[in-house]
């Protein structure tokens, strides 16, 4: 029997029982649509989160004290900065000899009370260099950020977040005033416009001070980390190696730091969300299975409804295999066209959602379309097989006398 004839015959059954066909098409298409929509949401969430990170630029390297045993692998990273050997301001300065490094921002962090004119509140303190501003791509609301000076010594100046400003100064002008941070005094150079978070800290509740002042304030040798801005991203890996070897030389030949790419952090989030998306996709696939079972039931009914026809086909010379193929193809056509309908629906609804929620990028991943189509087709074959076998095995005489 020719393929075109098999397809034609299967097609005639589909249009002959429109209600049944539509019901099964809907069942399958809902399954496929669910896969598309759920993975679109998962993928959109991934895009949203990683987009937040991507804003920081992929040209950053982060140097943290402590050896990460599984470094290079993207495994757990010791972000706590616990290390036997401190990562110092001198270490940070030494990195300036690397050509490909444009900006270096050593960072210490801590908490300290901020006081002005009898008012006091606790503030997150970031000790760093002026480069931090451009690395983070922050804007200033008023005044200026930290003054350009050596890392080792800097005048006692600070930039404050918006909330610190409003709580200590209210509507008054802050720039030029002296505030007390812990047991130090410093002059407010400017107010930071940024409202988001940096290194997990709410910028609005932050006071940024020169790095040397920070280590002195917290009486600490070690930096929390060094953020490095690389000129040519294609030479990222070389730069990473240079950093490792320079610090190693400075640390008596011990490689006791970890250099991570911003990319690596991004990658971990990426992985988490990929897993999430796949999990959502798999859950949705279950509805495809349900559709498959529905197809099987309907095909079983079809076999008993069409007994007389099966008997007739056998009487005019159909081989068992041919009867089998006719029913399997019918099931595949049902699940296949249901899947295509589901793909069209899923992708159209995604487009509508994109318009309705412009901030959130619904992105149905390519694999979701392929996988759901393939799963639908396979379930068509598998669940079509049992009814088809049953049809093929019918005894011709009994079938002929069966219901018409």
């Amino acid at each position: 029997m020719r393929l075109s004839d098999i397809l034609f015959l299967a097609y005639t059954t589909l249009i002959r029982y429109p209600l049944r066909t539509i019901m099964l098409l809907i069942a399958t298409s809902i399954g496929v649509m669910a896969v598309i929509l759920l993975t679109a949401v998962g993928e959109g969430a991934r895009d949203y989160i990683t987009g937040e990170f991507r804003n920081l630029g992929t040209n950053l390297l982060i140097v943290i004290p402590g050896r990460n045993e599984t470094s290079g692998g993207g495994g757990p990273i010791d972000l706590a900065g616990l290390s036997p050997r401190p990562l110092t301001i001198e270490d940070a300065q030494s990195l300036s000899q690397i050509d490909n490094i444009r900006r270096i921002a050593p960072v210490v962090i801590g908490e300290a009370p901020a006081q002005y004119d009898g008012l006091e509140r606790s503030a997150s303190i970031i000790g760093t260099t002026p480069e931090f501003l451009s690395i983070r791509q922050w804007e200033m609301e008023s005044g200026s950020f930290l003054p350009g000076a050596s890392m080792r010594y800097s005048p006692p100046v600070c930039a404050i977040g918006k909330e610190i400003k409003s709580e200590l100064f209210g509507d008054a002008v802050a720039v030029g005033e002296w505030i007390r941070i812990g047991d130090r005094r410093c002059r407010v150079a400017g107010v930071i416009a940024e409202e988001g978070r940096a290194i997990g800290i709410d910028v609005q509740k932050t006071v940024v001070i020169p790095v040397a002042l920070g280590t002195a304030l917290f009486n600490r040798d070690s930096l929390f980390r060094i953020i490095v801005d690389v000129r040519t991203t294609s030479r990222m890996d070389q730069t990473k190696q240079s950093i490792l070897s320079i610090i190693k030389r400075r640390h008596q030949g011990k490689e006791d730091i970890t250099v991570i790419k911003q990319d690596t952090v991004l990658q971990s989030f990426d992985n988490i969300f990929n897993v999430l998306t796949m999990a959502l996709g798999s859950i949705a696939s279950i509805s495809l299975l349900v559709a498959g079972i529905l197809i099987m039931n309907v095909m079983l009914v079809a076999v008993s409804q069409r007994q007389a026809e099966i008997g007739l086909l056998k009487a005019i010379g159909a081989k068992n295999k041919q009867i089998n193929n006719l029913f399997v193809v019918e099931a595949i056509m049902l699940s296949g066209s249901g899947a295509i309908m589901g793909l069209i629906l899923g992708h159209s609804i995604t487009q509508v959602l994109k318009v309705a929620f412009p901030d959130f990028n619904f992105l149905p991943p390519m694999w979701a379309s392929y996988v759901s189509l393939i799963v639908a087709l396979i379930s068509g074959i598998i669940f079509g097989l049992l009814p088809a076998r049953r049809a093929a095995k019918l005894d011709p005489v009994e079938a002929l006398s069966g219901n018409k």
Partner: protein, 225 residues
């Protein structure tokens, strides 16, 4: 051409055994015209189904064109049904969603004949049964007599040696029944072996050979001289 030797077909119903055919010996010559008669339940359909390889005997042999069919598997029997045997049934057995043309085409579709050849043969079969103008009609748009003529066309497109008809006029009024009988008799005159089950004595007496069954046994076998 057809030879049955001590052929029996038993059915088990509950714990009883029904001898639908009981040690039947029968020989049918090519191009013969045979009627099979008998009361209801005498085994006529069972005999016809076995002759058409739709059913297999419980014991005994069926030799068709010199080949013993008892050793054949499903596919071989399907092959013989496809090429050597044509069937007509009391209830026509047309596929309702297909047109007359497509119904007639079906045996050729199953044996993989190309569409051009199919179309030629369907058209000539339609012409033989006088339904050229009904080619696009669905069975529900045809009268009983027309439906049976479509079924006849379908049974001869593969140019079989034998035409088996189980009460072909049973569902038809006298006029269209007579048309159908005339049609299959013409086919017999053109060389087809014709075996008709009927309970209509008048029709039975038109044949060259009348076989009467009772309780699965041949009780009468008479030839016209």
């Amino acid at each position: 051409m057809i030879r049955l030797e001590k052929l029996s077909r038993k059915f088990h119903v509950g714990n009883q055994v029904v001898h639908a055919l009981d040690e039947v010996d029968l020989e049918i010559n090519p191009n013969d015209y045979v009627s099979i008669m008998g009361v209801s339940g005498s085994g006529k359909s069972t005999l016809l189904n076995i002759l058409g390889l739709l059913d297999t005997p419980t014991s005994g042999d069926y030799i068709l064109s010199g080949i013993n069919t008892s050793k054949m598997d499903d596919d071989e029997m399907a092959g013989i049904r496809s090429t050597k045997i044509g069937f007509i049934f009391q209830s026509f057995h047309l596929i309702p969603r297909l047109t007359a043309f497509e119904n007639i085409e079906m045996p050729m579709i199953l044996s993989g004949i190309n569409p051009n050849e199919r179309s030629m043969k369907v058209n000539s079969a339609l012409e033989k049964v006088g339904l050229t103008d009904r080619s696009d009609h669905k069975p529900e748009q045809l009268s009983g007599g027309q439906r049976q003529r479509v079924a006849i066309a379908r049974s001869i497109v593969m140019e079989p040696d034998v035409l088996l008809a189980d009460e072909p006029t049973g569902n038809l009024d006298t006029t269209s029944g007579n048309e159908v009988v005339k049609l299959i008799e013409e086919l017999n005159l053109a060389g087809l072996t014709l075996i008709v089950v009927t309970h209509d004595r008048e029709m039975g007496e038109r044949s060259n050979r009348l076989i009467e069954l009772r309780d699965g046994k041949i009780i009468n076998d008479q030839r016209k001289s």
